[in-house]
Symmetry: C2
Subunit: 125 residues, 2 copies
């Protein structure tokens, strides 16, 4: 899963079969670099001790925050600060690059049918 060669995150995300199932494509210090294909909405959650980076590779993502919505278009980047509740929503299929701490559960403390273990996320993309 940790590739010694350059990777094309958009192509890896496009190849994912399952929605909302992030895959680890690399590591950066204490963080994992992940890709995901999403459509529809995840669940409201937060990560108490870690920031989370969202970078839209293709499509559009709406991040609902407690006080506002943030709209991300292709090539746009946003960091959800630690402790801030957020709900990712994609009206159409959207490809994402995510960077989050290795200890971060992708649905925070919330366990839903969409929650994937880190072992599942470490399978080859």
């Amino acid at each position: 899963m940790l590739k010694p060669d350059p990777v094309d995150p958009r192509a890896l995300a496009a190849g994912l079969a399952e929605l909302w199932s992030p895959r680890v494509i690399g590591a950066l210090d204490d963080s994992y670099i992940k890709v995901a294909k999403v459509r529809g909405e995840l669940v409201w959650h937060s990560h108490d001790a870690q920031d989370e980076l969202f970078f839209v590779l293709q499509g559009r993502l709406r991040l609902r925050l407690p006080d506002r919505d943030v709209e991300l278009g292709p090539g746009e980047l946003f960091v959800v600060p630690r402790g801030v509740q957020h709900l990712p929503i994609a009206d159409e299929e959207c490809l994402l690059l995510l960077i989050e701490n290795k200890d971060t559960a992708h649905t925070g403390d919330v366990v839903s049918e969409r929650t994937r273990s880190i072992e599942e996320q470490l399978r080859d993309a």
Copy 2:
């Protein structure tokens, strides 16, 4: 410099006037998210304790490593592991997204005419 709204790293990098002068556009835990416009070559250097992420927003980047060259095209990503000497080279103008620890000096322990202090990097992009 830390923007509460989504940012378009490619547009911010394109707007930079100075080559090889990274600007901080956000923070992610203990790391800074930076953009840079580069052409030509930097200097051989390494970062003893921190990995460094390179993501090519536009153009092409060659990373010379001790044992090989890594070629990055648009949309490709590579992490230089901590302690590994590297020399970034761009034959044509190239726009980069970089993520590196807040303590990381962008030219490592090497001070060259291209070395920029973190205060310089924190000026508005």
